[in-house]
Symmetry: C2
């Protein structure tokens, strides 16, 4: 494409940016105008296919500052990925896929962004995927200077260097304006020095000079390291009264301003046409964009554990089994492989473990991106880091409808001595904030083994959460293995571990071994208590609940009692219009102290004696 042609396209795109934001009376024209020359040039240079947008050999283009959606949509329309009229008339309308921030699944859009600073991590994930797949596609990440202050960006940079991702290029739209003023004044980021400190090659260019942009893209594609192109730009570029002004960051032009601007650009003002179309759009939600792929995986032969084992070992063993049987399984570790038992994978299939160090935000986001590239991706971590620390990264993964398996160990006070900073107490509640995530809390090594193979075989996001300590495999009353070779995991099913008519204990995870002992002792005393294992707390099995909930109920949890299993069961029984005779819930209601987990279970009334005492409270008048 000639420079002249690029210039013409960019001018038309500038017009479209201004039109769609004015038609919607909402959006971000300023940064769109500073990025547009970069975008138009990039989409012409990159190996992308408007008529076959998801071709697996395509270059991946990620726009990290998703609020410049007008620039992205106008570029995609200019190259024929999407329909221009639909873009300009539908922008930010509920019936349109052209939302305020760009959405994965629109032809040409690889990743939903909007929460700043996460795009480079996604780019690293996709660049790693290329290496795993032996593909030579290139990954481009366009980002803003303002978001470059996010710490997660530095984590992603180092990761790119570690994995020698020469197939990764970052372009920074350095317009030096963010919402509150000059980027330099608000929080100075010495981009060149920072990227160099991380081992990247840097190129500085004028981001409005097509020849310089093309030349930099060529160098970046060929060199043998990740490269950043720092493109100096002007916000609002192309319209005199918008240039270098922060005012138009998030504010569209009014009608009069638009008239002036289009006049300057020598573009006809035809927005009435688009407004008319917009006014006729129905107030409905646009159809969901299909984002799933078929997961082809051999889940292998389940393993049966008969000896005392921690669930972590069953987890690590099953992941390694899956990776040996399949080429599309990877795991991401944050310097805890010995504890989360990815050391088994590391030994048996070292090419399928990615070690990110203490950089959880980056790790969670790149794991999400890897998962949409066809890899069943396990993100393994302690509960506090894999859930609490990465809360918003998983929210964005959920928005991206990824295929991520968040497997967290060391949940609850079962962790013991490491104390309250390390007691993960929100592993079932936090995921309720990530629409579509399912949560499974397997109770013993046998159920863990089956659950890991199950989640690997289903597209979608799962949390699999477990404690730390070793435990005997759960057995039936006759002493045989409960989750034996005939057991098949069914999502949502409640396991009835013990039958009983006088009361029921409903619990999950690491409390079960204590509860079994308590139930067995209570039976000897003549109190006949049933025991239910809830491995899927977010999707409670109403049938089993109804059957056991008419008498006295004790809910126990090694979890925050203000938002955990007890509350979920209360709400569910209320919805089912069931008020049992008596109800008591016991869990963690304060930051715990540090101590042997057996002591902590005792302090919270969750050991055998505490459980018996709590059951007896239910029988008091």
């Amino acid at each position: 494409m000639t420079i002249e042609h690029l210039k013409e396209l960019a001018t038309n795109c500038r017009g479209d940016i201004l039109k769609m934001t004015s038609v919607a009376n909402s959006g971000h024209p300023g940064g769109s105008m500073s990025s547009i020359d970069l975008l138009v040039t990039l989409y012409s240079f990159a190996n992308v296919f408007p008529n076959d947008p998801w071709n697996e050999n395509r270059d991946r283009i990620i726009i990290s500052h998703g609020h410049i959606s007008p620039a992205v949509y106008s570029t995609l329309a200019a190259y024929g990925f999407v329909d221009r009229e639909k873009v300009i008339s539908g922008f930010r309308h509920p019936s349109s896929i052209f939302e305020g921030h760009i959405t994965r699944g629109i032809p040409g859009v690889e990743w939903t962004t909007g929460n700043l600073g996460q795009g480079l991590s996604a780019g690293v994930g996709m660049a790693l995927a290329a290496k795993f797949k032996n593909k030579d596609y290139h990954v481009y990440v366009l980002m803003s200077d303002g978001e470059s202050a996010k710490g997660q960006v530095t984590e992603a940079r180092r990761t790119a260097s570690k994995y020698k991702l020469n197939n990764l290029t970052v372009i920074v739209d350095y317009n030096d304006i963010q919402i509150s003023g000059r980027a330099k004044d608000i929080m100075y980021v010495d981009l060149k020095k920072e990227y160099e400190a991380a081992g990247w090659k840097t190129i500085e260019i004028d981001g409005h000079d097509y020849e310089q942009i093309l030349s930099a893209l060529k160098i970046a594609k060929k060199d043998n390291s990740p490269t950043v192109i720092i493109a100096h730009t002007i916000i609002g570029k192309g319209v005199s009264f918008m240039e270098d002004k922060p005012d138009y960051h998030g504010k569209p032009l009014n009608r009069e301003e638009l008239e002036h601007a289009l006049n300057e650009l020598n573009i006809e003002n035809d927005i009435e046409k688009f407004i008319k179309i917009r006014d006729s759009l129905p107030i409905v939600e646009h159809e969901k964009i299909k984002l799933e792929y078929d997961v082809k995986i051999n889940t292998g032969k389940p393993r049966i554990y008969t000896e005392k084992t921690d669930n972590r070992t069953a987890l690590g063993r099953a992941i390694a089994d899956l990776a040996i049987n399949n080429n599309n399984v990877v795991a991401v570790d944050c310097d805890l492989k010995g504890s989360v038992k990815l050391n088994i994978l590391d030994k048996e299939r070292p090419d399928r473990i990615i070690e990110i160090g203490v950089q959880e935000h980056n790790a969670a986001a790149l794991a999400g991106a890897l998962s949409v590239e066809g890899f069943v991706t396990f993100f393994a971590d302690f509960g506090v880091f894999g859930i609490d620390e990465t809360f918003n990264q998983h929210r964005l993964n959920a928005i991206n409808h990824t295929n991520l398996k968040v497997v967290v160990t060391h949940c609850g006070i079962d962790v013991g001595e490491d104390g309250k900073t390390h007691h993960a107490l929100n592993y079932i509640s936090a995921p309720t904030s990530w629409f579509g995530f399912k949560v499974i809390v397997p109770v013993d090594p046998n159920q863990t083994d089956r659950v890991v193979r199950y989640v690997a075989s289903r597209y979608g996001n799962f949390v699999v959460a477990m404690g730390r300590s070793k435990l005997e495999p759960i057995k039936k009353e006759d002493g045989t293995i409960f989750f034996d070779e005939n057991y098949e995991f069914k999502y949502g099913k409640i396991d009835v571990l013990r039958e009983g008519n006088d009361a029921v204990i409903i619990t999950m995870g690491s409390i079960i071994p204590h509860a079994i002992k308590a139930v067995d002792e209570l039976k000897r005393e003549g109190i006949d208590v049933a025991l239910l294992n809830v491995s899927c707390p977010l999707d409670l099995d109403e049938e089993t609940l109804a059957r056991y909930s008419r008498t006295k109920i004790l809910v126990l949890e090694d979890h925050n009692v203000f938002n955990g299993l007890g509350k979920m069961i209360e709400a569910k029984l209320f919805e089912m219009r069931i008020l049992p005779e008596k109800f008591l819930k016991v869990g963690i209601d304060r930051f715990p102290v540090s101590g042997d987990y057996k002591y902590l279970f005792k302090l919270f009334g969750l050991d055998k004696e505490g459980i018996i005492k709590n059951i007896k409270i239910l029988f008091e008048e």
Copy 2:
């Protein structure tokens, strides 16, 4: 203190580190041994007072890698801050304050750490506090090389440079070993280059050479910029078989190893004595350490709004009023001052706004630290950044029992066109994970004004959450202002905005204006519906709930319906053993699309028409 004396102290501390971890059979001896020379020297050099540990002129020492607690406790014991026998016998026992990770409030401990990478932000907060208070104390942050990979650390570095914090010194224990092996191999961080890129002065030393340590501390204290001392150390230093081995990162010595080690150190093995004491300790939680201070604040004269105003303006106005009336009020902004209305403060009291840019993790943590230094601290942000993105930072603030006011705007679909990445839907549920946090959702500008003044006057952590759009001040049926000059905010109280006998709508925040219109219209149709405003969803007022909950209930929320107000009311009514005739809850059950908030309210059945329709469903057979 002579070098000879330092050496002797450090040797004794090494012995104590090994003893306490072996007595507890838990803990992190390796990193403790590499840090101990730095710690012993630092506590001798710094201006700290064992007999007056909270003297307001003391230097602040923050240990970011809280797992080296054995090193910290042994140092504190050596200098007389705490009792040595209690440390060695009680370490990691529930009845002891000497927990697995160091805890704020132990004499000499300024900040609870354990989640890596947050300590430097806390140090920046305390160094900023010194500037605000015109104090010349110095802030020292000791951290590990492994945690230096956390992105938040780079955010904190830049902030220190921006605010020219020459009263801040970082010491990195660079032992080049983390859990999984060499730090260099796991995730290389070029510390010198990175700190220099952020404008810091760097000094490299041998971290086991007392003269070099002292000399570096002297230089760092005097120079006019923040300085990092990169101290090259050896993990396990002092015991031949532990040196440079990752094995002892998180594993104590067994009895035989301990015997060898103490022998090498020429220290008597007297652990039997400590084990005996430990065995006699009761299995109880140690007493809480008192961490609050008296908040002295003039809350000023409330403002009454009679015109359509957004809550954000009332928020920003009240914060500015407070800062004008008091010297102990500060606010932290993340490049959104125009949107969260800190621009009023910025205009009227520019010395009390701290601008952190797009670095929310660092901002949230430094705001927490500022708040324990006597400042009523407002951390203002959009809901998705101030709640979701900073989830784990606030969890650590909660653990530190800070005095932080997290004021978040742009909550819910009320945000409209920016779409799902920007719709904060967990602003009442996420804080249930942070024990002690209270949540307030003020409904209109008048209540917002009163709530802001209220939270400023109470020690403790609060979330104050609001939407974006402008709304009429809530009025009584007679047309007068509801939250008028006689109104006093009472935490937990439910406001009865409309009386009614046939049904009740229970809701909060931005839905109320729509609900009032619906209720008024329903009354005209002969359906008599009460309307309750829940401004404190985590502490539901049982008396009011009971009075209105016998008939038909409709709960509405601009919040995730799976973990929000509806679920909380279901659980509460269940606990109160109330089953109303009919119950329906309506909220956000999927990621919303992008669009005008009025359209989105319609799509989710939350506008006037939707509410009327939902009420009528309750009256169907």
